[in-house]
Amino acid sequence: MHWLYLHFPRLQLDLFEQLHPEQTGPKVVIDGSDNTVCQLSAAALTAGIKPGMGLAEVTAIHAQTCIIEYSANNENSQLEQLATILYTIASDIVCVASNGIAINLSPLALYYQGLNNFMALCKRTLTARHVHFYFGSGATIEIARVLACSHVNRVEDEPSLALNYLKNCSLQATELPTKETEQLNRIGIRTLGQLIALPLDEIGKRFNNQIITYLLALKGVKQPPYSLFHPRKLFSQYLELPYAVESAPRLSRFIAVVLANNCAYLQKRNLATDTLQFELQQREHDNLMFKVNAGTPHHHLSEWQMLIDLKLEQLKLDSPVTSLTLTCDQLVEFDPENLSLLQSSYSRHAENMLLGKLLARLGSDSVKTVEQVNEHRQDYVVQQACTLHKAPACSEANGLQPAWLMVQPQPLTEQTQIVYGPERVHTGWWDDHPVKRDYFVALTGNGLRLWVYRDDQQHWYVHGYFG
């Protein structure tokens, strides 16, 4: 086996810089567990900040340093996105820890006719994602990982050649626990070459089995088992915001990042969706969930962004949002027939785009088509009226019908003249809502054409208007 290991030392910082390109000052990511710097920008390095420094030391060195709190969830989500992207160019992928990806190079050398070709493609893919990375290769993932963490940045044609570089790597680049590393340092063992040279029997007397297993992997004798990465059947991405966002429209720039990933995911699989689900984690309230619907399934970034912006304009947050999750699970195969922009005549595309905009801004039940309601009690017609996306052919006419109905009939208070009627409606005796009414058409002094009825109590009500 021949493995490539990609080490991403500053995933969270890369994302922050992507979201805030205008911030050029020193930036550090602080690990909340021990309050030390775990990731830092080039500007922070120039200012004199070093990894492992405490928060107080950082602010003492540079008071204007931008502090970002480390989030393992955020890095895992980003790593998964990177693995999903790399899955399009490589088959056997393993996600290691929260900042590493291992790729099995053995089948790729043949497929890409040389490892250099694959590496060029891999570097280009990752560079396009604006992430910093180091890489190394070896017979096992552990060897490749140590070389990547030592910034070797070489891929040998033969995995055995990697051992030459491995010998010079320090123990700090390995996954050995700190306690064992210090123990080895005390007896003068500082490089992997020195450690590997020791007989395993002697090491086994002083260290536990995990260390032995790890050393076997470093020697290229035995590869510990790893489960291969498989992209999800649906798209889901979690994004931790660099700061709490108080206003919904300001979420747009952050949503744009995950949305771009989503659209790329769909395009590469020739899929489309008409529903995106968002979950906003609010700082002081329950999570806020909402959906954005498009008129037709598609995967166009600009159109989704527009719909989401419309939705965000209407959205009210209970408290500032600290992170968000985009989920897209209603996937259909992309049908380009629906999206023809070149037709000079009427196209469904325009209609679907309009529907999407209306739904996004006015709500998912705001647009309705017309469906005949088989009910003589017009009170029910208003409640049951219309379903979206469905416009069945109407059957026979349902008698005299006013254009406008009142949700609740109102008592008739003005003077009118009866011009037509009565039409008796006597129905509903089989359920709890019997109706016995005599309907009339009445005309008011200013020409309003009322649809009025008289109930069995001889009370008069207005129920609608003839438009």
Binding site: A350, L354, V367, A391, A393, A403, M406, Y420, V441, G467
Partner: protein, 232 residues
Amino acid sequence: MSSSISSLIKHPLVFRGRDHRHSADDSELRLPFGQANLDKACAGGVPASGVLSIRALAGQGELQLLNNVLLQKAGTQKRIIWLPIRLHLNPNWMCQTPYPQQSWVVNTTNEADALWACEQAIRSQACCSVVIYLAQVEPKAARRLQVLARQYDCLVVLVHPGYRSPGALPVNIDMELSFSARQWFVHLHRVTGAWPQQHIAIDHPLPASNSAIVNAFRQYSNSAATAIHEVS
């Protein structure tokens, strides 16, 4: 000096003869109402694209007047958008019209949203017609819709009471429906291609009436034919 005149003539309440002359061009498609007097006064009917403002209350038979116009626009097979704010369109009535499958009813809670939806519908080029009910219309909003509707070849029917729009709106046709002494009249406040005109009598029948029965009773109660009901 010229700039001040220019800003003056841009005022929505100023009637501009140049526009009047251009729009009177014979090449512009007009959709007749099917009412001879009204069509004559409107130089043949409603311009196929632009805004038709009807000052009427919902329930005065305004849709009946529009029936012929909407039917012709529906021939394009594009959508007809209904924007009834605070009103409920009867789906069974809609199913009796010739264009139920082309219709979308868009429910909005306020007039700003309704105007936004109207504008989006026009811009989408997916709609042949938009029927919008508003409580009041600002000339600025009417002008905006007029420009858009002309640009995107859409007919916008703006139904509003007209109480708060004292002057003629800057649209293709601004008409008022009134009922007086059992007769319906249309007052044209503004028409492109023709002059404003008042008291145009139109035939605006009721959706149904008992007149046949009343006439029959009247006729038979005064004639010898009533004898057939007599029992000898």
